[in-house]
């Protein structure tokens, strides 16, 4: 068990729990990030933040601070 911001590009995982500000959690749900969903980290921006991930068939960009609230395994 780790958090999404710790994954490196190419690594995959399954969402276990979403944490953080309720508004952020709600937006993550709306974007398809949901407990049990598998995700893959695709890339890290050249300046080190944010990260690009794939959820389902969509690509999302999220800041590391936001990714830190997402538990993955």
């Amino acid at each position: 068990m780790t958090t999404l911001d710790q994954l490196r590009p190419g690594q995959q995982g399954t969402v276990q729990a979403l944490g953080g500000d309720p508004g952020l959690v709600q937006r993550l749900y709306e974007l398809g990030l949901f407990e049990g969903e598998s995700i893959e980290v695709l890339a890290l921006a050249p300046l080190g933040d944010p990260i690009e991930i794939r959820v389902g068939n969509a690509r999302l960009s999220l800041r590391k601070a936001e990714a830190a609230g997402i538990q993955v395994s």
Binding site: L18, G23, R27, L28, E30, E52, R59
Partner: protein, 716 residues
């Protein structure tokens, strides 16, 4: 059909990148206009078409991921869907558009639309792209399980439009509102209790959102209306739900995905291994540390230089054309206020509006291409870290970069930023970026004071330093604004990166046309009015102390011999006219305020006269320094400035500090009526342009003051 003459109202709703605008354009063609909804800063379009002889009004709501409104803008869309806006009737049918390749995610919003109590028609878009990925959808089954009509479409090719229209008519006729997923009993009980407290003015849909959306707009609105008792009730209700294992907002997501997942699994077959798409291949290059950065720099350089190089020749032609037209008017009419109003006020004013058009069209062409092909979001992804240092996000990068060419298209480009506070902060600091209208001021003064007798690198360095003033002050002001006036909860920066695809020429041309039209038709009138006011302040009074008209005196002077003497006389009269005009009188009255900057009333008056546009200072200074036809001859104005200042006790000794003080003032000031009007257009409020003018003028004054005073110490 209820009656054959009744107009159907249809609301079009979908996620960003679902192809909503493409479907809207395909259905309504050129019959569309921007709807006017007070309190909304995002634009909503209305179009109309006839389906089977029935007139249909189609409202294009802004792209959204859910009906959980977080801002006034998002709330307007929800209110519109519930029939709570006075401008529009309650929609007869809701048209929900989803991306076939991302069905489960996109259906989340659709499942919320099912709770509105209106018939819903589902359009599944981009079925060709889904097929290419091996995704097969059983549309009949999907329709049966969701309980709503489902139409497969390809909006960009115009396929399935007739079927959509037929489905809309049938849905309006049968009109049975669908049923979405049910939430746990415990949740419904809390909603019922809240509903009693709120009364029947609040529809059940909003009561549910009140409970679900922690800190959302419905909560802000109702707590403000009903007081802290409601806040406490809400907190207790949410705690009870959490204790029962149904914590918000997860309870909604579990209910909706729990309902949707089995349906999608039933109706959609996907290949076991996700095939590698073109988007994957392109993305692996664009996110590469070296290649991706290189492509980014090339794209930005291309956009930026095109705004300059492609627009400049057209802008020069526009300028020359209107100058020639003004000359034509002067030649054809007798001297008098009417001739001057036409030539110097209206013709040059219209030219001053149209001169922005090439830059706006080119920038919006690029923005449309970048957004259409999916690169815009990628650029925001790359630049997010940098922009976050000044409290903004990656989405502010393009507007800020564009503002280096011109703040007018830059401010308009800030539309791509959804977060209201970030958009405002970007708009308010964009005019600080050193735009091309500052260049004439810089080249005049650097040419006059920092070229002769200086090392070869000094002029270039001075220009670079002046650009850096904007590049450093703008982020600092943005940071300050985000910590004070625009303070608020940290917005969510999660952003979808759309699939890369080929841009469509038609949609690019449409975006360019919309941006150009919005500027000329709506902002143009006020800009022109401002220019006419400034013209009048410089024209009147048009007779000297003895009651002799300046125009008569100029006509008399022009007949004297030799030609040089005639020109000198004419220039002297023009200078006297400017001095005694209303604007000149204000400038002379304000001279005490200009003195600490090292300026006399002439420089001050020229700065005042440049309110419509910064570069006007060059011409006005020329007139005050008695240069013939100063509009064109930069060198003549340079010589005149040098000559005039050399005889002056202050500017003779401190020429360089004064020149620097003027340039720093123009680097920071808000002397551009067009930008102010565009800020008003984009923020729908006069308070923000007033604020921008006030803070930038203060900054400019303080900056010029420090520059001159420090420069005086250094020289002295």
């Amino acid at each position: 059909m209820n009656t054959t003459t009744r107009t159907l109202t249809v609301a079009l709703v979908g996620n960003p990148n679902a192809g909503k605008t493409t479907l809207f354009n395909a259905l309504s063609g050129l019959r569309q206009r921007v709807g006017n909804y007070p309190g909304v800063t995002v634009e909503m379009k209305k179009g109309n078409f006839t389906a089977g002889g029935v007139p249909v009004d189609l409202i294009d709501l802004p792209g959204t991921y859910s009906l959980a409104a977080r801002s006034p803008d998002e709330m307007v869309a929800v209110d519109l869907l519930l029939g709570r806006r006075p401008e529009e009737p309650r929609p007869d049918v809701v048209l929900s558009i989803v991306d076939a390749s991302n069905l489960d995610r996109h259906l989340y919003l659709t499942s919320q639309l099912l709770d509105l109590g209106e018939p819903v028609v589902l359009a599944v878009n981009m079925i060709d792209a889904a097929q290419a990925q091996g995704i097969a959808i059983d549309f009949a089954k999907l329709s049966a399980e969701l309980g709503i009509p489902v139409v497969p479409i390809q909006a960009n090719k115009g396929l399935g439009l007739d079927e959509v229209q037929t489905a809309l008519l049938a849905a309006a006729e049968n009109g049975t509102p669908p049923r979405g997923p049910t939430l746990p009993v415990e949740f419904e009980k809390e909603v019922a209790v809240l509903q009693v407290e709120l009364g029947n003015d609040v529809p059940v849909f909003l009561t549910r959102r009140l409970l679900l959306d922690v800190g959302g707009y419905v909560e802000q609105w109702l707590v403000q209306k009903h007081g802290s008792a409601l806040r406490q009730h809400l907190e207790e209700a949410r705690q009870r739900l959490a204790a029962a294992g149904h914590a918000v907002p997860g309870v909604e997501a579990r209910a909706r995905y729990g309902w949707l997942r089995p349906i999608v699994n039933d109706c959609v077959t996907k290949p076991a291994v996700r095939p590698v798409t073109w988007t994957d291949r392109i993305d692996s290059v664009l996110t590469h540390r070296v290649w991706g950065t290189l492509v980014f720099l090339l794209v930005m350089f291309g956009v930026f230089t095109s705004i300059f190089t492609l627009a400049t020749p057209v802008m020069d032609q526009v300028k020359d054309g209107f100058d020639a037209a003004a000359k034509g008017v002067e030649g054809a009419m007798d001297p008098g206020p009417l001739r001057s109003l036409l030539a110097d006020g209206i013709v040059k004013g219209v030219g001053g509006v149209l001169v922005f058009l090439p830059q706006i069209l080119i920038l919006f062409g690029f923005i449309a291409i970048l957004e259409d092909c999916g690169y815009m979001a990628h650029a925001a992804f790359l630049m997010d870290r940098l922009m976050s240092k000044c409290g903004l996000s990656g989405k502010s990068f393009i507007p800020m970069l564009s503002s280096v060419a011109c703040a007018v298209p830059g401010v308009m480009a800030a539309r791509v930023i959804e977060n209201r506070r970030d958009r405002l902060a970007t708009i308010l600091v964009a005019p600080l970026m050193s735009c091309s209208a500052r260049l004439p001021v810089y080249s005049l003064l650097i040419g006059a004071f920092l070229t002769e007798g200086y090392a070869f690198w000094v002029p270039g360095f001075a220009l670079f330093a002046l650009y850096m003033v904007g590049f450093t002050v703008a982020p600092l002001v943005a940071l300050l604004l985000k910590r004070t006036v625009l303070k608020g909860a940290t917005p969510v920066f999660v952003m979808e990166l759309p699939a890369y695809k080929r841009p469509m020429l038609r949609s690019i041309l449409r975006r360019m046309w919309d941006a150009g039209f919005a500027f000329v038709a709506r902002a143009g009138k006020i800009i022109l009015a401002t220019m006419i006011v400034i013209w009048a302040l410089q024209y009147f009074p048009n007779a000297d102390a003895n009651g002799v008209k300046y125009e008569d005196r100029i006509a008399e002077a022009e007949s004297s011999e030799p030609a040089e003497e005639a020109a000198a006389k004419k220039n002297a009269i023009n200078s006297e006219w400017k001095r005694d005009s209303m604007l000149g009188r204000v400038g002379r009255a304000l001279e005490p305020a200009f003195l600490p900057l090292g300026w006399d009333w002439k420089i001050g008056t020229a700065a005042l006269a440049s309110f419509p546009a910064r570069e006007v200072i060059v011409g006005t200074l020329g007139l005050l320094y008695e240069v013939d036809d100063p509009g064109e001859e930069n060198v003549a104005v340079q010589d005149a400035v040098k000559k005039e200042w050399s005889t002056d006790p202050i500017r003779g000794k401190y020429g360089v500090p004064v020149a620097l003080s003027i340039m720093v003032f123009f680097a920071l000031c808000m002397q551009c009526a067009s930008t102010l009007v565009v800020i008003q257009r984009e923020t729908k409020s006069w308070a923000w342009p007033a604020f921008t003018f006030a803070y930038m003028t203060t900054l400019a004054y303080v900056g010029a003051l420090l520059t001159f005073q420090i420069g005086k110490l250094v020289v002295g």
